[in-house]
Subunit: 230 residues, 2 copies
DNA sequence: CGAAGGCTTGATAGACCTCAAACACAGTGG
DNA sequence: CCACTGTGTTTGAGGTCTATCAAGCCTTCG
């Protein structure tokens, strides 16, 4: 069994992520370690894949912060999800040829590209890995549903509170928090695009949350003060 | 190779659905036909699975119309998806033990329950079936994303127009349309719950669409008159 | 230091919601 | 056969939430 501490970090990410969501056999792990990776560093606000593309590889986030989004013809934008290191945001392109949305970086980000063919071989030979990937897309869909209820049925105030808590939890899971606070890697405009709100309204609601004592904002650093208060 | 015309209809549904989204081998098909089904007829507005349940079987829709939805503590409701015959709306419970939402009927509906154990055996033994199921959840997630952009970034007018078109296409796919019109199986209140709107506003917007000559409504029958006009 | 991007503020407008009541229609029971 | 009931649809009035437009301000960075 491979010792995580001896792995190059780009190998470690995927392994950690998948073992966190499914049981993998030793053979599964070995197979994952053999995957060919092409590592690339990307500046902020760069598209990794675009709506309509037919990629031949999928990208694993190694470091940084990435989102999936869709654009309306007139420029309106909806961000559908955020992704932290270990995620493969466009894994779906393996089975669904054409992208129905774009994937882009929000900050400087390091990604590893994995050829579809290698991934396909893997899933055919290792049912455990196929199951893990399937499970991952099921979790993905569950998060989409959670966002849907926010977009459809929650007020701006509730939506923002929710998202700030979600991000706090996710950053804690990846070890990026420091005494219950974290650096928000997205602008208020991007928050608005994720929550279906205008930038102005995001700003005002953020002030309301601060005023109510639920959060504190120092620069880009967010601290959730009251986890029950909404 | 089994001839679809000789199958009992409840067997046929699933086979048709899966072959429409993936390539299945003859062995795959045979295996699917061996699945144990427990058929049940349900009246309208009945929950099949509830948020928080840990089902031990999944349900295949044979006839009727079903939706997935989530409830907020104060009663606000968001419908996340509609499902036509051939769909397995709670397939996810196979891998994600606890339901994060409910599944309920909108009209009188016939469903078939399939034990998780049988489904698990199948996916372990037939990678083609596992792939088909995975692909199905990927399509599911893509539809969620499409709805998200509606909820987040489209006006009530656009949302309703979009949904009516989507339903027209889906009913045509299942052969339930008659000269470009179909019987809408949902109330205006349910439409509102799916689109994040109030019943009253759905009603007024529907009138607007009719006034603009885009659709016609006779009772529960909807006809899309102008496919480009929005 | 200047420029650029992000944040903040004010004023105004519009989309959408809530409440409340009337209406239409189908199914039920006397 | 006809009131009766229940569910779904329609209308009106008023209010709230959120968007838009247009500045000004603050940081960061070359």
């Amino acid at each position: 069994m491979p010792d995580p501490d001896q792995l190059p970090p780009e190998r470690d990410r995927l392994l950690r992520k998948l073992t966190s969501i499914a049981d993998l056999s030793d053979a599964d792990r070995q197979a994952l370690l053999g995957l060919p990776l092409r590592v690339e560093a990307l500046p902020a606000d760069t598209d990794i894949v675009r709506d309509g593309d037919r990629p031949s590889e999928s990208c694993l986030v190694l470091d940084g912060f990435v989102c999936r989004y869709k654009l309306l013809p007139d420029g309106r934008r909806q961000i559908m999800s955020f992704h932290t290191p270990g995620d493969i945001p466009d894994l779906q392109s393996l089975h669904l040829g054409v992208m129905d949305h774009s994937v882009g970086t929000l900050v400087t980000t390091k990604v590893a590209f994995i050829p579809h063919q290698s991934l396909n071989d893997l899933t055919r030979r290792y049912p455990g890995i196929a199951a893990a990937f399937w499970r991952d897309t099921l979790i993905d869909a569950a998060i989409f549903r959670e966002w849907m209820i926010g977009l459809g049925r929650r007020s701006a105030y509730e939506r923002i509170a929710h998202l700030l808590c979600e991000m706090a939890l996710r950053f804690r899971a990846v070890g990026l928090t420091e005494d219950h606070s974290y650096k928000m890697p997205v602008t208020q405009a991007e928050l608005g695009d994720a929550l279906g709100l205008s930038t102005v309204h995001v700003n005002r609601t953020l002030q309301e949350l601060r005023g109510a004592g639920l959060i504190s904002l120092k620069g880009a650093t967010v601290q959730v003060l009251d986890w029950g208060g909404f």
